[in-house]
Symmetry: C2
Subunit: 231 residues, 2 copies
Amino acid sequence: MRTRFQQGLDELRARLLRMGGLAEQAVDRACQAYIDRDLARCHAVLENESQINVTEREIDELAFDLLAMQQPMATDLRFILAVTKINSDLERVGDQAVNIAERVMDMVELPKAELPVDIARMAAAVSAMVRRALESFIEGKAELAQAVLEMDNVVDRMRDDAFITLVKTMNERPAVTQQALDALLIARNLERVADHATNIAEDVIFWVRGADVRHNVALETPVDQAITDTH
Amino acid sequence: MRTRFQQGLDELRARLLRMGGLAEQAVDRACQAYIDRDLARCHAVLENESQINVTEREIDELAFDLLAMQQPMATDLRFILAVTKINSDLERVGDQAVNIAERVMDMVELPKAELPVDIARMAAAVSAMVRRALESFIEGKAELAQAVLEMDNVVDRMRDDAFITLVKTMNERPAVTQQALDALLIARNLERVADHATNIAEDVIFWVRGADVRHNVALETPVDQAITDTH
């Protein structure tokens, strides 16, 4: 039978996954809005931001309650702290989606311009990073997290390429400077989403390895505490 | 006499202040490097990044140790969790300083261009936000934090103005597109520093008010725990 504390940890994990789902959905919607020049999807991203913010606060509150409920073991403590950090990163992934949606809303008001940048490809790479970073956390696997760090280099290269070609576009076709700048800023927002995925992966590595290194911390727990410890 | 736990909290506060000092210094240096086209200062920012990253990890470790050491009271728990969040934001302020330094390094290779943007003024506003956000945390004053949120609107307006004038520059003087883009991205990086200051201020409000709202949580602490609680 699982204790109330363990049920709380399960709930925390489930909520973080929901938060991850909301953040991923926001990025996917914003990028789809770019591809389809779709204002309705932009508005959906803006409207869902408050849901993401509320979920962030709820997760923090639950983490707080779990820490206040009883003296967690070292592994559980690291898990809870990792959740609060990943939670912040996911909220900021949501912010980036809002930034992208705002850029798309700007672009839709301007004449459509063919731009030498593959936002869809970059978005796919970035979404995969967020998804895998969350997987690495849920499975507690540092090696999965390591793979996310390597993907970050690929996204950085895409961003660099986008910068070079779009600055060239601005120089050669001043009439589409604004559109090219919007696309450039969207590429930058996507790179930042990738950075958040990287932060999540780094936290996973830190906490997983930390938990390994400090495997014997529980032995230092005072005996009276250990006796009442039910998990 | 202060307990070991209380000494730990003091140390945590002191380290976070040091972290704040490092992050602020990095932003100030990067902006001074912009003004003076000073490569040496850019390199100093890049070199200090690892110091910031190490300090971030040390603060997280100390926070972890304090949480593992004993069952903190609700107020202390909120304080410790706020420290870990603010810590992350300060580390990212440092990242933004690195981004600014990289842009400056790009600009220094290009011919100097007069640009219609007052980066020094924006930098001063942003630095003030970071400083006040930290003050609001150290003093635990939600009203100081509230003032930081209001300053964010001013910085957002500066960023919007910079965007409008710099895009106009790109259109009218294609020869300085790259320099104008660098300045635009620096304005954006500064806006992001302001966002981090805002995050810090929001965390202060949330934790301070939360601590108020939950003022009686300690009463729910099991009696045997309360008896051994020395802080």
